[in-house]
Subunit: 723 residues, 2 copies
């Protein structure tokens, strides 16, 4: 398997095994035979990559443990409860600090590498006090030669950085490519993907990201937080000895902390978790830990950050927009529509390119692709000032209002060059859009936030400048009557339009909404931004695409249930379930222990319904069966029949009693139930399966995989990137 | 029934009818016989006050409708979809504007009334330019007489205002007393209480609130928003023709808007909904509407507000706390502990007083009680400057740092009077605590936020002043080394301690948390406030009380499921369900239609399991049966047997086929399922009942009422205020 196809997953198995019906696990039989010789602790499931967590089981387990601990009335029991709690908080605090500090230092690395492309610093104080371009350092006088040299070094270093990043990822950590947010969403939803959560991947991701951002590729470093971040926590996890459920709760907290650092807003992190990672969101302990980790991370970043850039620029609205006029709703709505349309376009392009990469020879040369992309990006970018500067710098400047006292950002404020600037901004937006669609998905760590914001900011600024031009040309028109009569006072603030454009574009690409409102404090700013984000999101939704993260989740076929209202069009579960005939079942009292052993080795499912005739007796998971068989299989028992009925039967009767292997938390429904209800139960209760019965007889079964298929059925490329 | 006992509810019925098992409805039989002659639209349930909404049914209904509409391919169908959507948004926008404007004008009324207690304005500009105390107006020269007169007028007017408020409530709208937040929580959770949602109640609440706030009673006007507010929406609802489910979604949006106005933070409203009203929170359309309504309400308030007070003072942190030192964690943690302890104390006192009022003669003289309370409050309050001024003014001033250039708030900044001030602050806090515990629950509209904040702010300021005194006395102590060496620079900021004290107290009383963080923007402020709120909440939780709203919900026994993790201590559903023998069942093929009619009239339940032998056939709701019987009962059919089995049977066979009355969305579990799972299903899925079966045979049933009883079992006064 080539390293750019990291998903050896569930999804693919599912696709290949449609005949095998409810097969979900990716591990293979010879691997499992190891498990057979281990003795897992009673009832404790060992999950492997590709599994989904059995939440009902895990929760029952945790409740049991907690109950046991609390019933220990000794001092040791009390201490162990307090110790557990203290340990969790310690991990949360440490995670917060780690994320803040790591985020700050990654910034430094990026800045140093990026500057290296243009020159070197001869004397370093708090800032560089004596900057020396390469041409000066090499003592080249000719202007032509010097700019040729400068541009060559620029391009060569860009290619060098990008390819090193790609090499690092390719050789050491293939899972570290792309943004990682889809993976995090799936993991928090219960997908087991431990190969993704290692310190090694964190390191490669951080280094690779610094290199690829510095190379000038059209990608964002926001990711550094939103999950480079999340990967800090595994450092603590091995010493922590947690259950998979607890682990996920901690991961959610770190995700919150990461976003908090990314946006410089502790609350933003929590809201991100509420909005995007909703599975856990409303469990209040998760919210708490998330908030604490967020706040600590933000404080840590602020204390460490050597450039004082911790008040992140993303949406630092400094001026303008204090008051706004009704006529401005027109350009703002237009920006929203543009954001939605371009966002959808970006997603569609990105999907097409990813599919092409997968299905053509291109996929075999990932490093070459990165090198080529960085060369092309650097060559194009060098031509226009707006694409040459770093995206974060560009965005920061586009968000500023023109104030000639403060300087003329990239010539933006020159009123005589208005049309040229508008033209250049639109060109830059187009170029960035195409490059971003290409870059996001290559063999390098990459985020989508910053490029998206940059595209939106360019368009927003252009629209703002056009609006301003119209207003200053026709100051007396009735539509502009709300403007101050004094024409030297600015009425339209192009910098603020830029913010709105960026919001609209983000809304169109990610379909996240609430978090964007959080990013600007002043009330007067919230409403216009809301208009932009909402229109962007709605237009995007209307164009029939999902948000880019959800699209990638679907393409890689992670078992993640989007928190959407599913419209079943009047269909019932009967239309979607796997019917009785196709299920692999265990017949009560028919199989010997040896037969059972063979069955579960041959038919590798998460669990099996137990029936007698057609009556449902219960459901039993493979792990419990394995652990039971491991303990009890002997020459004597091998030929005994297995019974699951609740009556106690002694071994001497020639039957083995497996009734304690039955799961208690099994949910039965009638197959006439609307599909929408079934979907909602899976979404809200984190189920793995539902059995359908009628008057005690088994009619069929639905697994999480089936529900995911239902929910992604409208997207044509579901599973196209898995395995 | 006396008007101060407005809850003719569910809970009481439940308590009285434990023998009748799953009785939930409060309406009586003679009322229902009306229903019998109505012909409700097919499948549409008419809810009455005291019912709980059947969400599964409502959602199925809405899906069906939407599906029908979407399948209309005509232009009219399209238009109707767009029209629906537009109407919803129109309502949301109108609600937002209404809430903002109403909130602003209520402020004006309160201010005018409160000022009336001290004097009159001779000349009104934007502010009062010529203020005249009553003694001056009446031309009284003697200082003794004049202050006697002033204080008498103060007390008399206070009593007058308070008793008019109580009279208004008593005569016109008994439901309008108290805060209303418990009711809103219950209503949003599915409790039907339409008598609470009328324009009439809104008007009385608004007027009564203005009067009671102006009377100086220890209560908050914050409520004006958080639900005086919610009641704006019924104005729009009658013209809107929505289902009960849609209505609740709109109510949630208005609740968000109300809180947004209360805190001056549009996002705060959404977070409040997420945190407190969680049932709906994660349905994204609700979140959206809530946000839009919030933002519009905040903008409306800001545009209308004639005093420019719209940037609500609650947590307007203006100075101090820019940097903080490690040693300050000690006083902050102490404040958190104090907040938690006093919060619990306030809740316990409040409960005791409410119970006493209910069980003694006091309950028969509600207006006299209000008058007495206002007289006592005014008399005590007049003595100390901190209690004499309006709570909102006091809080605003306590939150300010001392700056002699700006003036000396109530003498707080006089360094020589430090000990006196600390003493007075603590006395004021104690007095306010006692008065608040008494006032909250009387026959007047009242909020708990502002008094809570005032108590916390007094204590916080006192602790801050003490800390400052210690620091200035021992500036060289190692613990204070982090302070600036220049002793004229302030190191400890008592105003900021006041904010922390207020947060801790709020955390202790309401147990809300996230929303409090939202109220201050600067990052450096968030961490200390977090420490205060968290400690307050945790200490409060550890003292074994719930938040004050949840306590009131439990006392009034509303069918509301708190979003808590229920610890079942290893028990299974079998221990909590109503067992088979106690259920009222319908036997398949045994009853005639007349029998059935008699049965459902005699045993007034929400629904009945249908069985054959002991096998479960299905579940049928009373409303469907009523509507069916209403249509089909005739001389011929009366003596026919009823069948629910799916096979089509013609009437001529002498049986009536009721199979289409069976509910599809019925959830069966096994009775061995842990209770925690059952509780979580009720919480997350908004169920009304779960049936327990084993191999097709009915074992028992659990209703929402049973789950509420489980969750409130630890609170001794559950249901003590119902009916």
């Amino acid at each position: 398997m080539s390293p750019h196809r990291p998903q050896q997953s569930w999804g693919s198995q599912h696709t290949e095994s449609t005949n095998n019906v409810h097969e979900e696990e990716a591990f293979e039989l010879d691997e499992n035979s190891d498990l057979h010789h281990l003795r897992p602790k009673k009832h404790e499931i060992k999950y492997k990559d590709g599994n989904s967590i059995d939440w009902l089981h895990e929760e029952a387990l945790e409740r049991e443990r907690e109950y046991l601990k609390k019933s220990q009335r000794s001092i040791r029991g009390l201490l162990s409860i307090w110790g557990d709690s203290a340990r969790v908080w310690l991990v949360v605090v440490a995670t917060g600090i780690g994320i803040g500090v790591a985020g700050a230092w990654l910034d430094v690395l990026v800045k140093w590498l990026a500057d290296l492309r243009e020159g070197r610093c001869r004397a370093v104080g708090e800032f560089c006090t004596d900057w020396q371009p390469w041409s000066e350092y090499l003592n080249i006088r000719s202007i032509f030669l010097s700019s040729l040299l400068q541009s060559s070094i620029y391009v060569v270093l860009a290619v060098l950085f990008a390819s090193s990043a790609a090499l690092l990822v390719y050789i050491y950590a293939p899972y570290a490519f792309h943004t990682g947010i889809p993976e995090i969403k799936a993991i928090l939803g219960g997908y087991v993907f431990d190969a993704f959560l290692t310190p090694w991947i964190l390191l490669i991701k951080a280094l690779g990201l610094a290199l690829s951002v510095a190379s000038g590729l059209s990608l964002g470093k926001e990711f550094r937080h939103s999950e480079g971040t999340i990967i800090v926590s595994p450092f603590f996890l091995p010493h922590y000895g947690v259950t998979v459920a607890q682990k996920r709760k901690l991961l959610a907290a770190s995700a919150a902390a990461g976003v908090s650092v990314a946006f410089g807003s502790p609350l933003g992190g929590v809201i991100f978790c509420l909005e995007e990672l909703d599975t856990f969101a409303l469990e209040s302990d998760v919210m708490w830990r998330g908030f604490v980790a967020s706040a600590i991370a933000a404080v840590a970043l602020q204390y460490v950050d050597p450039f004082g850039t911790s008040k992140l620029v993303l949406f630092q609205v400094t001026s303008g927009g204090d008051t706004w006029r009704a006529f401005e709703l027109v350009p703002w709505l237009s920006l929203g529509v543009i954001g939605g349309v371009l966002g959808s376009l970006l997603i569609k392009l990105n999907v097409e390119i990813a599919l092409y990469r997968r299905n053509s020879a291109l996929g075999n040369y990932p490093i070459l692709e990165v090198a080529a992309a960085s060369a092309i990006t650097a060559a194009i970018a060098y031509l226009v000032v707006f694409t040459r500067v770093q995206s974060s710098e560009l965005v920061a400047n586009l968000f500023q209002e023109c104030d000639l006292a403060k300087g003329d950002y990239h010539g933006l404020c020159n009123p005589t060059a208005m049309w040229e600037n508008v033209f250049l901004l639109l060109i830059s937006a187009g170029v960035k859009l195409a490059l971003t669609a290409w870059t996001f998905g290559m063999m390098i760590p990459a985020g989508i936030f910053l490029p998206t914001i940059a595209i939106g900011a360019c368009i927003g600024r252009a629209v703002g400048m056009l609006t301003q031009a119209v207003q200053t040309s026709f100051p007396k028109a009735w539509i502009f009557q709300a403007c101050p009569p004094d024409t030297t006072v600015r009425c339209v603030s192009p910098g603020f339009y830029s913010v709105i454009g960026a919001s609209a574009m983000l809304g169109g690409v990610t379909r996240m909404t609430v978090i964007l409102f959080e990013l600007t404090g002043a009330l007067s700013h919230v409403l216009p931004i809301m208009v932009g984000v909402m229109t962007g999101k709605f237009v995007g939704d209307a164009m029939g695409t999902d948000g880019i993260y959800n699209v990638w989740i679907a393409m890689r076929h992670y078992p993640w249930l989007p928190p959407v209202d599913y419209n079943d069009k009047g269909k019932t579960a009967a239309d979607a379930m796997r019917p009785y005939g196709t299920l692999v079942k265990i017949e009560e009292g028919e199989l010997t222990l040896k037969d059972l052993d063979n069955l579960i080795k041959r038919r590798n499912f998460h669990g099996y319904p137990v029936i007698k005739g057609r009556d449902l007796i219960g459901f039993v998971t493979r792990d419990r069966l394995l652990s039971f068989i491991d303990t009890h299989l002997s020459a004597t028992t091998a030929s005994m029949k297995c019974t699951f009925s609740a009556k106690r039967v002694a071994h001497s009767d020639g039957v083995v009693d497996l009734s304690r292997c039955l799961e208690n938390s099994i949910i039965n429904l009638r197959k006439e139930v609307p599909q929408a209800l079934v979907v909602r139960m899976f979404q809200k209760m984190n189920l793995r399966q539902i059995l359908f019965t009628h008057r005690g007889q088994l009619d069929g079964m639905m697994t999480k995989a089936d529900v995911v298929s239902l929910l992604t059925a409208h997207f044509p490329h579901t599973g196209s990137l898995s395995t």
